[in-house]
């Protein structure tokens, strides 16, 4: 069952079209990731879904509400966590939760149990007396998530919740999200981290207000239609130019001392031998060479670069920033 249903959803700001004809259905229980570069329209999309912005054109239905006419009524059924979610830094963890419970009219008798559960869930039980301002960045994000969950929303909309937190906290946050997802929650989360796309059940790649790709992570990798040859040459500087000039090489991406060579799917083994031969011919040693599965980051960068080139070639329908 689709709980979010968008048809040609469009939103203009003064001079830009931030969201440009978005058509998308999100089913109950999905963990849907919105990824893409800055300015692609991720935040605007989430705000539209949260009923915080007016629609310029198109249709949007969230749960059973039409966002054009019933945006106000949507709000209590969703939990929206903005990029700069404001906790009250002078209030304790408990007081912040109590504050949001109040705003969202959570029945008084339901509060103690729900608060205890969320604190447990977010690993904040032992810090409940601490002022929010004195929590680490990662704990603040977890508290913000707990506050977003206090009214038991049917849909969670999270705008870059892990930006700026350290790796352990980031991993913990995602473990919490996937646990929520396992419990059946519907989550739409935007992220600038490509590796986080791997943790979503489906991913939408946004570019210039449009969905450039939308599929489960594995499917996106298949759509890339590429294999990656990972080469560890002794001298990457010399090797890179030689490999880039070979036939059938789509792109060479540098990863420290390694080169990731993107080639058409199905040609990996053949191209690998050609790379070996070329390096040998030029007396360049190679410590290791192997076929590796493409990563999300490689897929997205390659896709966005292709789109950028298309745009640069002057499609008159694409608004220029």
């Amino acid at each position: 069952m689709a709980v979010i249903s968008l048809r040609n959803l469009t939103r203009d700001f003064k001079t830009t079209r931030a969201v440009d004809g978005l058509t998308l259905d999100i089913q109950a229980g999905e963990l849907f990731g919105l990824v893409g570069p800055d300015g692609a329209g991720k935040t605007t999309t989430l705000r539209l879904l949260a009923g915080l912005l007016d629609i310029t054109a198109g249709e949007a239905q969230v749960l059973k509400y039409d966002l054009k006419t019933q945006a106000e009524r949507v709000k209590k059924h969703i939990g929206y966590m903005a990029q700069r979610f404001s906790l009250y830094s002078e209030l304790s963890v408990d007081e912040n939760l109590a504050f949001f419970a109040e705003i969202y009219d959570v029945p008084r008798e339901a509060r103690p149990e729900r608060t205890a559960h969320l604190l447990e869930f977010a690993g904040l039980t032992e810090f409940r007396e601490r002022r929010a301002g004195q929590l680490s960045g990662g704990m603040q994000k977890k508290l913000a998530l707990a506050c977003t969950l206090i009214h038991q929303p049917e849909i969670l909309l999270l705008d870059e919740p892990t930006t700026g937190v350290d790796p352990i906290a980031r991993r913990e946050f995602w473990n919490i999200l996937t646990d929520l997802h396992l419990d059946g929650a519907t989550i739409v989360v935007s992220t600038p981290y490509m590796d986080e796309a791997d943790r979503c059940s489906r991913v939408g790649l946004m570019y210039e207000g449009k969905l450039a790709a939308c599929a489960p992570p594995r499917e996106i990798l298949r759509q890339l239609g590429a294999e990656v040859i990972e080469v560890h040459p002794a001298d990457w500087r010399a090797a890179r130019g030689l490999i880039a000039a070979l036939e059938g090489v789509r792109e060479v991406q540098t990863y420290g001392e390694a080169l990731h060579v993107l080639v058409e799917a199905g040609t990996g083994a053949k191209r690998l031998r050609e790379i070996e031969k070329t390096l040998k011919k030029h007396n360049l040693a190679c410590n290791n060479i192997r076929l590796a599965p493409p990563r999300m980051e490689e897929a997205f960068i390659s896709m966005i670069r292709e789109l950028t080139e298309e745009t640069a070639q002057g499609d008159p329908h694409v608004p220029r920033p």
Partner: protein, 309 residues
């Protein structure tokens, strides 16, 4: 001699030891990554390397000189770009570059040529007269890098240069760094983005003031990972997570963690190959079909998280 040599460096603030006896060397012409969570001691270390803060014990030598006592001689040969770029938003691109060029004492003729080179490197040609404040994050970041290399430094120190910049711009930025190292520049960069660690030639990972891993990314993966990552593609990933977590809690399988990745499950365990069959059987007993099961290479993030726990 290596351009940066850090020996037994320690910094205490009262009873708090921010940097605890760390040693490493940065080699000429490499990108050296200095990684760690916020509050691990990254900024304190970089401030001592830049000679801005006196060590409690130990020493830092940059280009063969003492970082604290010979700062004046080191400064003209090194560049620095901070997290907050320190550009003037009201000035145009070219005015910012002229300002920094003058600050580095570049003469007029030389300055013209270096500004042209910086604009070219940062791909800002044609944008010279835009107000800096109107540039996107990625452009501003490249302008800041251009400003930091105007005086052709031998080493450049970058403190979280990509914080808050989108993935494509981050990638473009790294490609710029590779161009600089190809020209022989040594790059020292701090970051908390784990995926960027893979772009470094060598790196140090700092936690609670101590270095817990040092070397090339591939070496670190080989030596520091406890356990292996097994990627399972089951018919029903949610159920599989539940079943495997139960098996973990009951001690039936030696799993260190069980996490959902989209439609896949990642399990970390020692000697994954040895336990494959048991895992498969556990899932089959719960009537979960398994399409595929592979030991995959851990990401550096997997390795660091394992090393920290």
């Amino acid at each position: 001699m290596n351009p940066v040599i850090v020996s037994s460096l320690t910094k205490r603030f009262g009873d708090f030891t921010a940097v605890d006896d760390i040693s490493f060397e940065v080699r000429r012409g490499e990108i050296f990554g200095f990684l760690g969570p916020n509050g691990a001691g990254k900024t304190t270390t970089i401030r001592m390397i830049l000679g801005l803060l006196a060590p409690t014990a130990g020493s830092v030598r940059v280009l063969g000189m003492d970082a604290r006592r010979e700062t004046a001689k080191i400064r003209p040969r090194t560049g620095y770009m901070s997290q907050r770029f320190s550009l003037y938003n009201d000035l145009t691109v070219i005015q910012n570059l002229r300002f920094y060029g003058a600050a580095y004492g570049l003469g007029n003729a030389q300055l013209q040529e270096r500004i042209r080179a910086a604009l070219q490197l940062a791909d800002l040609e044609g944008r010279e007269h835009l107000k800096t404040g109107e540039l996107s994050g990625g452009w501003r970041q490249r302008l800041a890098l251009g400003a930091a290399i105007l005086h052709e430094p031998e080493i450049i120190f970058l403190d979280e240069p990509t914080a808050g910049v989108d993935p494509l711009s981050r990638r473009t930025f790294w490609d710029l760094l590779y161009r600089l190292v190809e020209e022989g520049v040594t790059v020292f960069v701090t970051t908390h983005y784990m995926d960027e660690a893979e772009h470094c030639h060598r790196l140090a990972f700092i936690r609670r003031g101590q270095i817990i891993a040092l070397g090339a990314p591939s070496e670190i993966k080989r030596h520091k990972m406890r356990g292996e990552v097994l990627e399972i593609a089951p018919e029903n990933a949610a159920r599989a997570v539940e079943v495997l977590r139960t098996a973990r809690l009951e001690g039936a399988l030696p799993l260190e963690s069980v996490e959902l990745y989209g439609a896949l499950v990642h399990v970390i365990l020692p000697e994954a190959r040895k336990h494959r069959k048991d895992i498969l059987r556990t899932l089959q007993n719960a009537h979960i079909r398994v399409h595929n099961m592979d030991v995959i290479e851990p990401s550096l993030e997997d390795v660091f998280i394992a090393a920290m726990q």
